[in-house]
């Protein structure tokens, strides 16, 4: 099975370039604007899109992404509408990899088999589900692989060498290294420590390794891009979006551009990186 994710990382490898991965919340701040934002991301330089599935109780997220989820829920966003958003995005873009990121309960309630079928036909390439460690692989990971979707696992500073093989066993697409023990939006990790961690994980896998949590600026993105196969930015984009809203939390004429401009600046940072780590 080759997904858009595999194809994209293979292309980037021949170009000798690290990937720029963006995270935004589906339905934030409303459906129409959210679709426009997702469409704008590849044009602004995003290589991979992570789209958040809103959830009432995002235990691994900081205040910015919590608030984004609540904005989306407030306008009536659901998992079904998230899949429709992906389908609409795919009408104009059949190459940019798109990964859904969130928590298990909405998927469990939607029904795992129905979800996987609908996700595949909508044009989803992979899943990152924060509260499904390898110990729960039977729930969604194995069925997702069978359905032709990548299951992208998080590795963290607490994942030691003994545990890494279990974490990597059913992982595909790429590995998401969470650079700090903490929640999204927390302090950034030191690029050298990240370099060591990436090297450690690379001893166990040939998959690309993307690094996220705490990257906010083009400089930080560049520093990470020199150490890893990709860098992920979420909270900074969500904050840019929020700062463009009016007092009632509604989109303004500036909203799509605010996200696109920061994406372009960050992508520029990543492209300025020296040859990515091998």
């Amino acid at each position: 099975m080759t997904t858009r994710i595999d194809t994209r990382f293979a292309e980037l490898k021949t170009q000798g370039r690290s990937a720029f991965v963006t995270y935004v919340m589906a339905g934030d701040p409303d459906l129409t604007t959210s679709l426009e934002i997702v469409k704008a991301l590849p044009k602004a330089g995003a290589d991979v899109i992570e789209l958040g599935i809103p959830f009432t109780d995002p235990m691994a997220d900081g205040p910015s992404i919590q608030a984004a989820g609540l904005r989306a829920l407030k306008i009536g966003m659901t998992l079904r509408k998230t899949l429709e958003l992906v389908r609409d995005f795919r009408k104009d873009d059949n190459v940019t990899p798109l990964v859904l990121m969130g928590y298990y309960n909405p998927i469990y309630i939607y029904g795992v088999d129905k979800f996987l079928a609908d996700a595949k036909t909508s044009g989803v390439d992979g899943l990152i589900i924060v509260d499904l460690p390898p110990e729960e692989d039977d729930e969604l990971c194995i069925p997702a692989l069978k359905a032709g979707l990548n299951f992208i696992r998080l590795a963290t500073p607490t994942t030691d060498d003994k545990r890494l093989p279990a974490v990597l066993a059913n992982t595909s697409g790429f590995v998401y290294y969470v650079s700090i023990a903490g929640i999204t939006g927390a302090a950034a990790a030191d690029a050298n420590a990240v370099g060591e961690a990436v090297a450690r994980i690379k001893r166990h896998t040939k998959l690309p390794i993307c690094v996220g949590f705490g990257i906010r600026t083009p400089e930080a993105a560049r520093a990470i891009a020199e150490k890893a196969d990709g860098s992920v930015v979420g909270t900074a984009l969500v904050d840019a979006l929020k700062n463009s809203l009016d007092a009632e939390g509604r989109a303004t004429a500036k909203t799509v551009n605010a996200v696109a401009e920061l994406t372009a600046a960050l992508a520029q940072g990543v492209k300025g990186a020296k040859q990515a780590a091998e």
Binding site: G62, N105, T158
Partner: protein, 404 residues
């Protein structure tokens, strides 16, 4: 429901923490190594007689156990049916059953060399018990409490602060117990190296539901021995309130294989089951939250719904996974009591027995008021009086004055 009856109701969970389809370990990867360590440490402690010996010493001389099994003569007369016994967990140091579990977890934290303890709390009883044992053992203590609960359980907030704990009011989500738990989990993910998460009920990822159940089972074990001594036999029924379900599980578990014993759990029906409530079994269905699969209140999209109960300790949209299983296999009957029923029971017990109960066990008393009159006079009914009402006096006082 087509679920095979097990040979024993007491053999769970399996090695992956499952009670039937319930339970499990639905946590972020960052926490996974920590809960595996905790499981290892707990297994070792259980096998170590020195651990139990140390616990027993503190349970007797610090907590004040065993708690009495008291014949509630006037309540029995008033209801005119079953003979009602109260298991007096409200007489424990700190005023509730919560201390039984906290003592066990703090002993474990000490064995694991953890110096910083975090906890979530609803009514503040678990927070107070945690702050108390942290003071006793010189550990740093941070308690997360929903901002709504900080407001309605002020006496406990003051107590925690006097004991040297930091109370963090949680402003996210619905600002009650579920959000306090989210925030505690966020703290734990951030401070993995020195922090022990002391969970207050039989919920969360494996091994917490098991470990908390085991520490609370002293309630049921004592009850069994005390009833044998007083009446020379087993009780006929057990009744306990359910937030996450720890006081209930502690009473029930030792009796699960005694098939003559009827068992009733009482959830909080808030304004009523067709309105805002906190009865996850009556009004919810299986889902995944806070590390385990269990009955939850949620909407069609799997979003967790706001719970409501007059009692902060029951105001939670979930229930421990072992209860979900006991419901599905039909061993325990889950009932519910409304805010108004609990308030009436609160007043009745205060007037008849001179015991002001916490609003949580007032829900159990409310169902005793329905069940006892329908039972014969030689029926022995035990209610878990899980906590005292001091913390609720200002809130109930306001409600009663406002009503009059």
């Amino acid at each position: 429901m087509n679920i095979a009856k097990p040979n024993s109701y007491r053999s769970g969970p399996d090695e992956r923490g499952h009670f039937g389809i319930f339970g499990g370990r639905f946590v972020a990867e960052t926490l996974m190594p920590l809960i595996l360590d905790l499981e290892k440490a707990y297994t070792a402690a259980k096998a170590d007689p020195a651990f139990q010996g140390e616990m027993d010493g503190y349970l007797k001389n610090y907590v004040g156990r065993p708690s009495p099994l008291y014949f509630a003569e006037r309540l029995t007369e008033h209801l005119g049916g079953a003979k009602i016994y109260l298991k007096r967990e409200e007489l424990n140091h700190t005023g509730s059953h919560k201390v039984n579990n906290v003592l066990g977890q703090i002993m474990l934290a000490r064995r694991m060399g953890k110096k910083r303890i975090i906890a979530e709390t609803g009514a503040g009883q678990h927070g107070v018990a945690t702050a108390t044992l942290c003071a006793r053992f010189g550990l740093e203590c941070v308690v997360y409490m929903g901002a709504v609960d900080v407001e309605r359980q002020q006496p406990n907030v003051i107590r925690m602060e006097m004991l040297g704990a930091t109370v963090v009011p949680v402003q996210s989500g619905t600002r009650t117990l579920k959000d306090a738990m989210n925030e505690a989990l966020r703290d734990w993910v951030t401070n993995v190296h020195n922090t022990f998460y002391c969970i207050g009920t039989v919920a969360g990822p494996h091994p917490y539901p098991t470990l908390v159940r085991d520490f609370q089972s002293i309630i049921g074990n004592e009850t069994k021995a005390q009833m044998q001594e007083i009446e020379g036999r087993l009780p006929d029924s057990l009744v306990a309130c359910i937030g996450g379900g720890s006081n209930a599980m502690g009473l029930f578990h030792p009796f699960l294989d005694d098939s003559s014993v009827e068992i009733f759990g009482v959830e909080a029906a808030g304004h009523g089951l067709t309105q805002l409530h906190a009865a996850s079994i009556a009004g919810g269905r299986p889902g995944v939250l806070h590390g385990n699969r269990t009955y939850l209140l949620m909407d069609a999209d799997g979003q967790i719904q706001d719970a409501h109960s007059i009692s902060a300790g029951l105001d939670y949209p979930g229930i421990g996974p072992e209860h979900s299983w006991l419901h599905e296999v039909g061993r325990v009957n889950y009932l519910s009591a409304t805010d108004d029923e609990a308030l009436a029971a609160f007043q009745l017990l205060s007037r008849l027995e001179g015991i002001i109960p916490a609003l949580e066990p007032a829900h159990a008393i409310a169902k005793v008021m329905e069940l006892a009159p329908k039972r014969p006079k030689d029926h022995l009914m035990v209610v878990n009086l899980s906590g005292r009402g001091d913390k609720d006096v200002p809130q109930v006082g306001d409600i009663l004055r406002g009503k009059k």
